[in-house]
């Protein structure tokens, strides 16, 4: 298998040993690690834009009508554009590229012990399409009449007709950008699944694959299976916007709720598409720093498959008040409550992994443990919202908003930081500063709760999600509500300021960090066999051979408390 991968790689003239130019090395590279970095840095840059947007609209909510520093006065149309693109960016241009594309590209070939993806040229094409989609999205902010403001869910008929949404150029460009981005991940997903199935190191059986690789593969399968309807819907919506068809226009025989079905059929599995890789990251980090075998490897794996299947039958819980038949709502409530079981199994398995371990509280481990706690809050509030009776009251309030931020922030922020701190030595060959990491950790976790706990209270009091200025609504304009809004905004600013130590730490460590050994965390998986950072072709001339599962920590009768996957069984045992 490794040979097959090498063959494809060789066709690109890809392993020649002369020093490639800057362009072929960093821009048009087919090396999976470079493509991973491209995704990572694009994602982080987009996170800065998305974070800035949230700062601007939170300032507007806390101090309505006043001029926001670094932005100016926020008009209603600008407010809509900011919330829409904050959501779009954070999900499609931060969570997806960083969790799936960057980690998948960087980790999969290293962790399964091969030299590159099986389709390196497709991989490069994937990033190029993604970059194009990024440019289209950013361009859509600057066209006449501004960027699209119909929320990231882009509900019809608001999004379908320019006379409703007021953005004749912004709306189609937004849709085009999302579609391009999806095509990019489609190509990437094909690569991830095929590589993991066909190019594993010799001896690596299915149950020897590290959990994070499994999770990225299952997430990719979910993505591949759910994204078709969104593409179909996007084509129809684009035709409605640009060619004057009437798929979603009730006046001409169309059906506006149809879009919601097509969107959420993708949109809900998408939550699990980003959740699963985050779970995988947490599993790797917990085992390494608790020095224990992953509790219930197969149980976690089967749960995630079950979760994947169930996730295709929950989408209408987003539509309880969109005229869905109450009997159907009952069914979707049931599936939604059921889906909390596999997630709970995973969380319990991680807690059991920690049980009795010799835990090392360094930065990646802190982030991984914070993920468990914070995601739990998101998960539990999700059960309330999944019940159609409660949802009718809470729908489209800040309660929903706080709920999904308690799921998405642990996924796309906390788990991503855990992954960056954990794999930084492998990515760049140097260690990040742990003290600054811990400062960054506490400066992220505490204000994060400071933002969203008040929003739960506001939402339960009936504060609607999509309102530009609450002072116009006597019921919502009271002073104690406004104090909560100001507290949330203040927490956000603190959170943003505490990201400065992270960026400084990141950049300084790139140049000056302590040099990392091959295996600084004494971990078992194959990426730590390669040099830090891994060269072109990852493992040199000889690809590793796998003899055991990825989590053999603290095995009795061994001097070392870890047992790398590639270490041959002792000679004594063999003869």
């Amino acid at each position: 298998m490794a040979e097959v991968a090498t063959q494809t790689a060789h066709q690109d003239g890809h392993h020649d040993h002369e020093e490639p130019s800057f362009w072929s090395k960093y821009v048009f590279s087919t090396d999976h690690k470079i493509i991973g970095f491209q995704y990572l840095f694009t994602g982080l840059a987009m996170a800065i834009i998305g974070g800035f947007f949230s700062y601007v609209f939170r300032m507007q909510l806390a101090f309505p009508g006043s001029s926001v520093p670094f932005y100016g006065v926020v008009s209603p149309a600008a407010y809509n554009m900011l919330i829409t693109n904050h959501g779009t960016i954070m999900i499609f241009w931060v969570a997806m590229p960083v969790l799936i594309a960057a980690l998948g590209n960087f980790l999969i070939p290293l962790m399964i012990g091969c030299d590159d993806m099986v389709f390196p040229k497709l991989n490069r094409l994937s990033y190029q399409i993604f970059l194009l989609s990024t440019i289209v999205l950013i361009a859509s902010f600057f066209v006449p009449q501004g960027g699209f403001g119909g929320a990231w869910t882009s509900y019809t008929p608001l999004s379908a007709k320019a006379e409703y949404n007021g953005t004749p150029f912004g709306a189609p460009l937004w849709l085009l950008a999302v579609t391009l981005e999806i095509v990019a991940f489609l190509i990437g997903g094909i690569n991830f699944i095929t590589t993991t199935m066909n190019a594993r190191a010799k001896g690596m059986k299915l149950y020897d694959i590290p959990m994070v690789v499994w999770m990225i593969v299952i997430a990719s399968i979910l993505f591949m299976a759910s994204v078709g309807p969104l593409v179909a819907g996007a084509v129809m919506l684009f035709f409605d916007q640009v060619l004057g068809t009437s798929f979603f226009d009730p006046a001409a025989g169309g059906d506006p709720v149809l879009w919601q079905h097509l969107f959420w059929f993708f949109g809900h599995p998408e939550v699990y598409v980003v959740l699963l890789p985050a779970m995988g990251v947490v599993a790797e980090i917990m085992c390494t720093f608790a020095r224990k075998k992953l509790f219930g490897y197969k149980m976690i794996l089967y749960s995630s498959v079950g979760l994947g299947i169930l996730s295709f039958f929950v989408w209408a819980h987003h539509q309880f008040i969109s005229g869905v038949d109450p009997r159907a709502a009952y069914l979707f409530t049931t599936t939604t409550l059921l889906i909390s079981i596999p997630v709970a199994i995973m969380l319990f398995a991680f807690i059991a992994t920690l049980w009795g371990g010799s835990i090392k509280f360094n930065t990646p481990m802190l982030f991984a443990m914070a993920f468990l706690g914070e995601f739990l809050i998101g998960g539990v509030t999700g059960i309330w919202l999944g019940s159609s009776g409660v949802d009718v009251y809470l729908h489209d309030t800040y309660f929903v908003l706080a709920h999904f931020h308690y799921t998405f922030v642990p996924i796309a922020v906390i788990a991503v930081f855990a992954a960056i701190y954990y794999w930084f030595p492998k990515m760049f060959g140097r260690m990040m500063n742990d003290t600054w990491g811990k400062i960054h950790f506490w400066g992220t976790i505490i204000p994060f709760n400071g933002i969203f706990l008040p929003l739960f209270v506001l939402g339960a009091s009936g504060q609607h999600r999509r309102i530009y200025n609450f002072q116009n609504f006597p019921d919502l304009a009271s002073e104690n509500f406004q104090d909560l809004r100001i507290f949330a905004t203040g927490s956000l600013i603190v959170l943003i300021l505490f990201q400065i130590p992270f960026f400084v730490n990141f950049i300084v460590s790139l140049k000056r960090g302590e040099k990392a050994s091959r295996n600084p965390w004494k971990s078992n998986t194959l990426e730590w066999v390669a040099p830090s950072p891994p060269p072109h072709g990852n493992f040199g001339d000889e690809l590793p051979v796998v003899y055991r599962g990825p989590y053999e920590y603290s095995v009795e009768d061994r001097e070392e408390d870890y047992w790398p996957q590639n270490q041959p069984p002792q000679a004594a045992a063999r003869s």
Binding site: E3, I193, M197, G203, S226, G228, E542, P544, P569
Partner: protein
Amino acid sequence: MRYAEASYSGEGGAAREPAIANSVFGVLVFIVTEVMFFIALISAFLVTKANALQWPPPDQPRLPIAATAFNTLVLLVSAVILFQAGKAFQREGFAKRTEQLFLLALGLGTFFVVFQGFEWARLLSFGLTLQSSSYGSFFYVIIGAHALHAVGALAGMARLYIKMKQRQLRLQSFQAGLVFWYFVVGVWPILYVLVYLT
């Protein structure tokens, strides 16, 4: 000590033949997405149809059922011939017969697309357009999506044909092309029954 057997002599990196070759596997994964894409279009179409008072709308032209039945047959024959070409390539490698069968299948596929194009031109002249009704919108989007797939697949296979002529075609690339064409052919009768017949 699961892997302590002698079968692992530790030379490292030696290949094990994957059950499904990379290119074929990649195309199969892609087809999963494609199937879901067409399911979404068809179910959207069926929902709209079920909600309509009259279907097809009385003022809209009827679709050419008989002509398209003939065209369907042509498409199915192209898949059968391509299957033969695949068998011939596997058995005899680069042979005249393989090339002829491949070319014939390509020709039939091209005929299908061109014939569809003529039908579209006629329907447009009768007043069935994208904007004329949701009937027209769905017709052009669904059948157009299929036509785009057919054109893309034909272009890809033309490239494979050139490679075959140059004696550079790998079996797995050819098989990947075949699998994708089977998908394009296989989805068509379903579309024909759901869009043209009912």
